[in-house]
Amino acid sequence: MFDLSPLSISLRAACIATFIVFVLGTLAARLVLGLKGKLASFVDTVCTLPLVLPPTVLGFFLLVLFGKHGPLGALLSQFGQSIIFTWYATVLAAVVVSFPLMYRSARGALEQVNSEHVWAARTLGMHEGSVFLHIMLPEAWPGIMAGITLSFTRSLGEFGATLMIAGNIPGKTQTIPMAIYFATSSGDMRTAWIWVGLMMLLSFLSLGFSSYLAARREQ
């Protein structure tokens, strides 16, 4: 019987990670827009850095942070929890690698929001949070939606950092990219082909869905 668990593990990690990244990335983008000068460029650089760093470098840092002797790992172990080599780690890795994509898309989209609309809302007496939720977000939505799609597909394809902090435990942390790698290296081309096909299909569908939404909005 063909083991389908990598599909559910991948989808679960990608969905949860995309949701987390949507919230964090959008808030970070809003935060950076409110900053000025050197501080703005510094925070912007830090938020974008995971995009250009090799996933193994990110995995290394996550391992250092969340490992048994790492500061966050030690804190979690006091509550009897550990993240490394559990399915949480697949989510964590996906969040870190896809965060910059969401952040950059959201920042670009929020920058495009008509500033007169924002100021009009403020003169009307709307609170800053309300301005963000009801004026800025809806107007920036197409760009944010693009960011969500990119983050989802990136999360789905995450390999390097996941391998380092989640490992390749079949049925537990083995995602589709992991299954492809290990099937290929053990010469099981049939399994590899199946997963490669599924991966192509998933990515194609999510990108297609996003461009369908964008086209429908245009009308």
Partner: protein
């Protein structure tokens, strides 16, 4: 409560090679419509933005009804949200993703919120009152992009009035309208503005427009006030 705007602002802004300075000082009484006339780029909009808190002047004071909105010396600068200054943008700045009704309801931020039910009820009542006042009942569920320029202006005005401002700023309110429409709107808008009993600042580059609306006109040239006089018969 008597309302007056006392604005002494001076801004050095680097637009081109040399800095642009804005130095204006005027008072607008209750229920008075003051005209601010000048060519584009003379600092009219900037003056309004200083009053609304969109730009902060380097020094000076902005006061509304005895309350300091901005005071350079004391380091006071109320956030725009708390200033109770209604701003009608040149583009009207209607929220494109919201219906006319939703746009107007966005202005109802300063309504007392005793209970949720009562609040909703009052919002609905007030919405109908504004739609009726500006003859927009049949457009309540339309989106701004489906409205003409004149209709958009009325929605923007309703939204502004719904926010219960203590002062009203109009930034070239007619520049987006054609001439025929201007005349038909004229008297209605003026009557509506006068009824609020707010101090109103009316900015335009068109002397005729200003004359029709304002009892007093200030000329702004290169960021400086040139002269003060009654518009209409006295000047002509």
């Amino acid at each position: 409560m008597s309302l007056s705007i006392d604005a002494q602002l001076s801004i050095a802004k680097k637009t081109h090679s040399e800095p642009f300075t804005l130095d204006v000082s005027f008072t607008v009484g209750n229920g008075e419509i003051l005209g601010l006339l000048g060519p584009s780029g003379c600092g009219k909009s900037m003056t309004l933005k200083c009053i609304a808190g969109i730009i902060n002047p380097d020094k000076g004071k902005v006061q509304l009804g005895g309350v300091a909105l901005f005071d350079g010396e004391k380091g006071i600068s109320l956030p725009t949200r708390q200033r109770r200054v209604g701003y009608l943008f040149q583009s009207y700045a209607l929220f494109p993703h919201m219906t006319v009704a939703a746009n107007i309801c966005c202005g109802m931020t300063r309504m007392p919120r005793e209970s949720k039910e009562q609040y909703r009820h009052r919002c609905r009542e007030e919405l109908h009152a504004y739609l009726e006042l500006l003859h927009m009942e049949q457009f309540a569920q339309s989106y701004p992009r489906h409205l003409s320029g004149g209709q958009q202006q009325r929605v923007a005005l309703a939204r502004l009035l719904a926010s219960r401002p203590d002062a009203i700023l109009l930034d070239e309110p007619f520049s987006a309208l054609d001439d025929e429409l201007k005349d038909s709107i004229d008297q209605e808008l003026k009557a509506t503005l006068l009824k609020t009993q707010c101090p109103v600042v009316f900015v335009s580059h068109n002397a005729q427009e200003i004359q029709r609306y304002c009892s007093r006109t200030l000329h702004l040239v290169h960021g400086h006030l040139r002269q003060e006089g009654k518009s209409g018969c006295q000047q002509r």
